[in-house]
């Protein structure tokens, strides 16, 4: 299904590219023609984190048939967990110099740290929460939704409602997550200054490592017998039931896994962009993540990574060169890809590579069975 060639190429491009950029940034003098400026490092690091979100979306959409319109929520929750750790690391270096309380809490006149902030001074705890918080939310939500056979557009809409509810919640100051401004002004991550170039280069390489790991994990899942069942559920859910499978358990497993992947992406995103605020929860973000996958090619995993990097590169370029045209371009991308390029960029590659007589790859066609 996902050939070894494509797998190796993906791994090589992601990891090799990141290492190359990091090395060129660290070991060439700033004036040199080969030097990669720090902002590029941060930018690419950001793209790779988005790619993790895209991978997570592809896993549930491409293989599970669940179109998630709220996956950025898991990404943001992972990001907030990391942000809380980074906030605690500021210590007395904040504007108010309070060792226990982040600046925004002092500003709000809070006297003590809320209970749910305790533990976040330890990296290991924060890392656990990066995984656990999205996982638990996904578990509860998924269990409720899949058990009652909510499918198709209904499911999509309630995932959107979920992230919308979280968006509203995180905007509230009383939630204790910095309200509108979110968490920012970070100083250190595990003892290294978060703004420093070597830290940024390391974070880029780390993001690449995690992305490769997630890619391999996702590949393992979809190519196992589990993956075959999942695809069967995607295409003909009721048929799998009569075969004795419980589609809800399969969806739940892949849904939780996907949420964790998105959460990790968010956690690596926050130290590299230096801020996390409620706008990450906005439904538009989640829908954008879906279009990354659609552009790259749904149900291909590699395509999700490719799409995330391509679209975000385009966004960076557009928003600086032609800001008023960006929404036109993004809108056109949504329309164009769904109408003209249903298999995405990977579909184009495949069409060129396909020799006559060989059967098209299994997950290529966005199956008709998806219709609810």
């Amino acid at each position: 299904m996902i050939s070894h060639r494509v797998t190796l190429l993906t791994l090589a491009l992601v990891f090799g590219g990141a290492v190359l950029l990091a090395v060129l940034n660290q070991f060439t003098p700033p004036g040199s023609a080969l030097h990669v400026p720090p902002y590029v490092i941060a930018l690419v690091g950001k793209y790779l984190c988005f790619a993790m979100l895209a991978l997570a979306v592809d896993l549930v959409w491409g293989f599970g048939g669940i179109l998630p319109l709220g996956h950025a929520a898991f990404f943001a929750l992972g990001g907030y967990a990391m942000g809380m750790y980074l906030m605690r690391q500021i210590g007395t270096r904040g504007v108010y110099g309070n060792a226990m309380l982040p600046d925004f809490m002092v500003f709000l006149g809070w006297k003590a740290l809320p209970w749910y902030w305790s533990g976040f001074e330890w990296f290991a705890f924060a890392a656990l929460m990066v995984v656990l918080v999205p996982a638990v939310l996904a578990l509860v939500f998924g269990w409720l939704a899949f058990r009652s056979r909510v499918t198709g557009v209904y499911l999509s809409i309630i995932t959107q409602a979920l992230t919308y509810a979280l968006l509203l919640a995180f905007f509230r100051n009383d939630m204790g997550f910095g309200g509108n401004n979110g968490l920012t002004d970070f100083k250190d991550i595990v003892g290294f200054p978060v703004q420093a170039d070597p830290t940024r280069a390391s974070l880029l390489v780390l993001s690449a490592l995690f992305l490769c790991g997630q890619f391999l994990l996702a590949r393992f899942v979809v190519m196992s017998r589990f993956g075959k069942v999942l695809i069967a559920v995607r295409d003909t859910e009721s048929r799998t039931r009569f075969l004795g499978y419980r589609p809800e358990s399969y969806k739940l497993v892949v849904w939780v896994l996907s949420a964790i992947m998105a959460g990790i992406g968010g956690a690596l995103y926050v130290p590299q962009v230096g801020i996390i605020n409620p706008s990450e929860f906005s439904p538009a973000n989640s829908i954008e993540a879906v279009i990354w996958v659609a552009v790259g090619g749904r149900g291909t995993l590699s395509g999700a990574i490719l799409g995330a990097v391509l679209v975000n590169f385009g966004k960076t370029w557009f928003t600086s060169a032609l800001p008023e045209l960006w929404l036109f371009a993004l809108g056109a991308l949504f329309i164009g890809v769904t109408l003209l390029l249903p298999e995405g960029v990977m579909g184009l590659f495949r069409a060129r590579a396909a020799k006559p007589g060989t059967a098209p790859e299994a997950e290529a066609a966005p199956a008709k069975g998806m219709v609810t």
């Binding site: 196992s224 069942v229 069967a232 003909t236 004795g244 358990s249 098209p360 069975g369």
Partner: protein
């Protein structure tokens, strides 16, 4: 007939949709290892009956007792499938983008839980069983083709093959020969008789020639309940049957 011989017992099953009674106090007994043909005009409740047996539809009243005392109306589809009841749909339903081989692999009896399937590897026994089924349903040449690329008849057989892979004790087959050529129809009748050697089969069919070829006990449904039951000759002479069905 003793209780031990009874495989399936539908007792006064009633199902209504928005006031329309699809099944109206339907009662039916099926013996272990029996093959039964169910016929009836459109809207007689044939498909709804299958839906009730397999857990897709819950009846308003009545019970469906399987083997020694399991009430199927309390269970959902996967649980009923796990008890050994397989179903073939009117419209062939296979996993189109996946290969014939994978379709059969997914249908093979075994652990259905995610934690098993994540780590499962194809065993030699599984491979042998799939090979055997491919022979039975006459598809060994097609094993690597996408199921979606098969012809209509081949899909029907693949679906029967998948049912066999499930190793059910009871097979429910909904219009297996619809849209088949005469040769295919004959082969299908052959196949069903072969299957019936080891398990019970319920066939819902419109094609009277096919039902006659099967040569089994026939149940005629009309407006959600049994109108007549017996050999094909017996029911085709029943004046009520002639009136509602054959006479038209």
């Amino acid at each position: 007939m003793t209780e031990a011989d009874t495989l399936l017992y539908l007792d006064g099953v009633t199902v209504s949709f928005d006031g329309f009674r699809a099944l109206n106090g339907l009662s039916l007994v099926l013996e272990e290892g029996e093959m039964r043909a169910v016929i009836g005009p459109n809207g007689a409740g044939k498909t709804t009956m299958m839906d009730v047996i397999t857990g897709k539809t819950r009846p308003d009243t009545g019970s469906v007792i399987y083997q020694a005392g399991t009430d199927l109306t309390k269970l959902d589809e996967p649980a009923i499938a796990a008890l050994g009841i397989g179903r073939k749909f009117q419209k062939p339903t296979v996993f189109e983008p996946q290969t014939v081989w994978d379709n059969l692999l997914l249908a093979l009896a075994g652990d259905r839980r995610p934690k098993f399937s994540l780590w499962a590897r194809e065993s030699a026994a599984e491979r042998a069983r799939i090979e055997q089924i491919l022979e039975t349903v006459r598809l060994p040449e097609q094993r690597h083709r996408r199921a979606g690329d098969l012809s209509h008849g081949q899909k029907q057989w693949l679906e029967i093959g998948m049912l066999l892979a499930q190793e059910p004790r009871l097979l429910l087959v909904d219009e297996p020969v619809a849209g088949m050529t005469d040769a295919e129809t004959e082969q299908t009748a052959e196949l069903l008789r072969e299957i019936n050697l080891t398990r019970a089969v319920v066939v819902v069919e419109h094609d009277m020639a096919f039902v006659r070829a099967l040569g089994v006990k026939v149940t005629v449904l009309h407006e959600g309940s049994v109108l007549s039951e017996g050999s094909i000759d017996h029911v085709s002479e029943d004046p009520r049957v002639i009136e509602v069905y054959l006479g038209r």
